[in-house]
Amino acid sequence: MSQVIVITSGKGGVGKTTTTANIGTALSLLGNKVVLLDADIGLRNLDVVMGLENRIVYDIVDVVEGRCRVKQALIKDKRYEGLYLMPAAQTRDKDAVSPEQMKKLCEQLREDFDYIVIDCPAGIEQGFKNAIAGADRAIVIATPEISAVRDADRIIGMLEAHEVRDQALVINRVRMNMVKRGDMMAIEDVVDLLAIDLIGVVPDDELIVTTTNRGEPAVSDGNSLAGMAFKNIASRIEGNEVDFLDLDKNNGFVDKLRTMFGFGN
């Protein structure tokens, strides 16, 4: 039974595209056939994050407008078995694909894939409504910042109104040292407020920037703590029970020294 998952957040810049790329790649590493669908039409980026920007010939708008077949617009990622990308159009705007067309496309993709992971545009306008139209479940991304949490709350309400009731929360870019100092909202506080299931906590990780620079998902880097967190999310999507990462372990050498000599934070 295939699943259509939309990655959404309301607020821009909280890591939707990175999350889509990483969760999708991690799901393919678990042996699934996965297609990443970029629904951010006009501002496509999933292709660059995946390092597949050179290979685009057709895009999602070409598919729904009948200029090519679904298979022609699918770019196979040669690095990962079973991973494909359907890019967004760069030169059209958000309403180039209607909710009905999106539903139809998702239904077609279901026939060949285990997971269809959709990168949703920021905002609550038509582009958002189009992107979620065919989704079975939503993964809501929030960073532990007031603006992001507030927008996530709004998005959860809108998802409910559009009958996407299966929702899970990913808290992205958590800085444990700031949380400890009380300078960042704590995980429990965010979960408490949003009151949906927590499916992952991803630490702020510089490696995300460097892997993205190279067009490689962080899950491919064994040293990346964020990559590890994304792999765990993929495993939880598959229905496995996985313990949450102990983010405190991420303390640097200096922190460890401090602890050793009794300079607590």
């Binding site: 660059v48 920007e53 050179n54 290979r55 685009i56 010939v57 993205t212 620079n213 190279r214």
Partner: protein, 95 residues
């Protein structure tokens, strides 16, 4: 000199530089709405057409999009340039 120092400290393959290179190429292609794969398809088509009239060196055939300053406005605009080495012009078999 600075580069030499950079190299010395193993900065040769900084991901920031990779990002810059990728982005430069990407933006040129975006402005033209044309990807490498599309370029490859264009190349194949051009080869097919030109081959009807001249023998060309497939291996050395180079096609790329870059930017060039226009004479009048001094604005940079994208240009498609192809470098097509000709082996020999086919003998016209008219008789």
């Amino acid at each position: 000199m600075i580069n030499a120092i950079k190299n010395l400290f193993g900065n040769k393959d900084q991901s920031g530089d990779v990002a810059k290179d990728r982005l430069q190429l990407l933006l040129i292609h975006d402005r033209m709405n044309c990807s490498t794969e599309l370029l490859e398809m264009m190349k194949a088509d051009i080869v097919a057409v030109i081959s009807k009239y001249v023998d060309i060196d497939d291996e050395e055939f180079d096609i790329e999009i870059s930017t060039m300053e226009t004479d009048e406005t001094h604005k940079k605009s994208p240009v498609l340039s192809a470098n097509i080495p000709i082996k020999n012009i086919k003998n016209q078999k008219k008789k």
